[in-house]
């Protein structure tokens, strides 16, 4: 029972982290779409986006480890 409660709390935190990453990713995507950045800034934004995607992938791995049943 305690394990379930801890897992549930962990799932919530993973959701929170993913929500924050989603906001960062969307901000960066919109920044790129808007244009007007110099080449070096574009490179930095792209690298940051790559880091966000890597963090998202890591979160998904954590989700899979946490609860294999019921996953799509």
């Amino acid at each position: 029972m305690r394990d379930n409660a801890a897992s549930e709390a962990l799932r919530d935190r993973l959701h929170d982290a993913n929500d924050e990453l989603s906001i960062a990713t969307m901000q960066l995507e919109l920044l790129l779409e808007a244009g007007g950045l110099d080449a070096s800034s574009v490179r930095s934004v792209r690298e940051t986006l790559d880091a966000c995607h890597a963090a998202t992938a890591a979160l998904r791995e954590a989700w899979l480890v946490l609860g294999r049943s019921g996953q799509l």
Binding site: N18, D19, S22, T25, M26, G70, Q71, L72
Partner: protein
């Protein structure tokens, strides 16, 4: 002074920043939105206005979550058959996928959602809503004669488009042909809507056909379709839809490619052979209609 477009899209999320960013992404594509920070706020707006065509809702919200909210939308606004639902989730599970199918959601997006993916999904849902509203509007004087007239008009327009597509022309006309193809597919959708008006539930949608038409539309529009989106578009149970997708792949009409970013997701597209057969079918259909 430019008139402010009426919002046809309702965005629902308790996270203020996510809501503002989604709005920015859609407004960038000339799609006006109404924002709601809770299910209750969204329901209040929907009760006061019937102009919403698409509801995009996050699943994870306090008090009333997205699934419960959208179930209430389907119950309370059952008469608005045109209303399209798009679910947004941080983590796809079997439960939420089943809920999406039960809610007849038109799409199911997993965060982080790219602005272009959001615009495509909402744009597609708006087109579907528009088609359904047209059928709905035809209903008040809906004798079979009216519906049949619409059926005939659409068939005639479809045939005209196909004639244009079949005409040989220089390579530079490829874009015009693509536009004609898209218009043709929109007409096919309208034709299916008219069919529903006349035959009602007696004629069930055929998932494989619905999916081939959707794959053709996506190909012409340059959109990518995930397995989940394609299954939802077939308007049939998930297991049936997934079986039909496998059938299409086995027959060499469609192919599946894994998403390099998200290993759990894969995209489906028509093979060149599938696209060619669709083209042959559309041309044959036009000839049949024209006699």
């Amino acid at each position: 002074m430019n008139a402010v477009p009426e919002p046809r899209v309702l965005l629902v999320d308790d996270e203020v920043r996510a809501l503002a960013l989604a709005e920015r992404a859609l407004v960038g594509g000339d799609i006006a939105c109404r924002l709601a920070h809770s299910a209750e706020e969204a329901l209040t707006w929907l009760r006061g206005s019937s102009q919403a065509d698409v509801v995009v809702s996050d699943i994870r919200m306090p008090v009333t979550d997205g699934i419960e909210f959208l179930s209430r939308v389907r119950d309370e606004f059952a008469a608005r058959r045109w209303l399209q639902i798009i679910l947004v989730t941080g983590h796809a599970t079997v439960d939420t996928a089943i809920a999406a199918i039960r809610l007849e959601a038109s799409d199911y997006l997993v965060k982080p959602v790219e602005p272009v993916a959001l615009r495509e999904s909402v744009g597609h849902a708006l087109k579907r809503a528009e088609s359904l509203r047209r059928v709905e509007r035809a209903k008040p004087d809906s004798s079979d004669a009216v519906a049949l007239r619409e059926f005939a008009d659409v068939a005639s327009e479809l045939a005209g488009n196909l004639r244009h597509m079949a005409r040989p022309g220089p390579a530079g006309e490829a874009l015009a042909h693509t536009k004609a193809n898209l218009a043709t597919l929109e007409l096919l959708r309208r034709l299916q809507g008219a069919r529903q008006t006349i035959f009602g539930d007696a004629v069930m949608p055929e998932p494989a056909w619905e999916m081939i038409a959707e794959l053709m539309r996506a190909r012409l529009a340059g959109e990518r379709l995930s397995v989940t989106s394609l299954a939802l578009s077939s308007q049939s149970p998930a297991t049936t839809a997934l079986r039909r997708i496998e059938d299409l792949i086995q027959c060499g009409l469609a192919t599946r490619t894994p998403d390099p970013v998200d290993r759990r997701r894969s995209y489906v597209e028509l093979t060149p052979e599938g696209a060619k057969r669709m083209q042959v079918f559309l041309e044959g259909f036009a000839r049949t209609v024209l006699g």
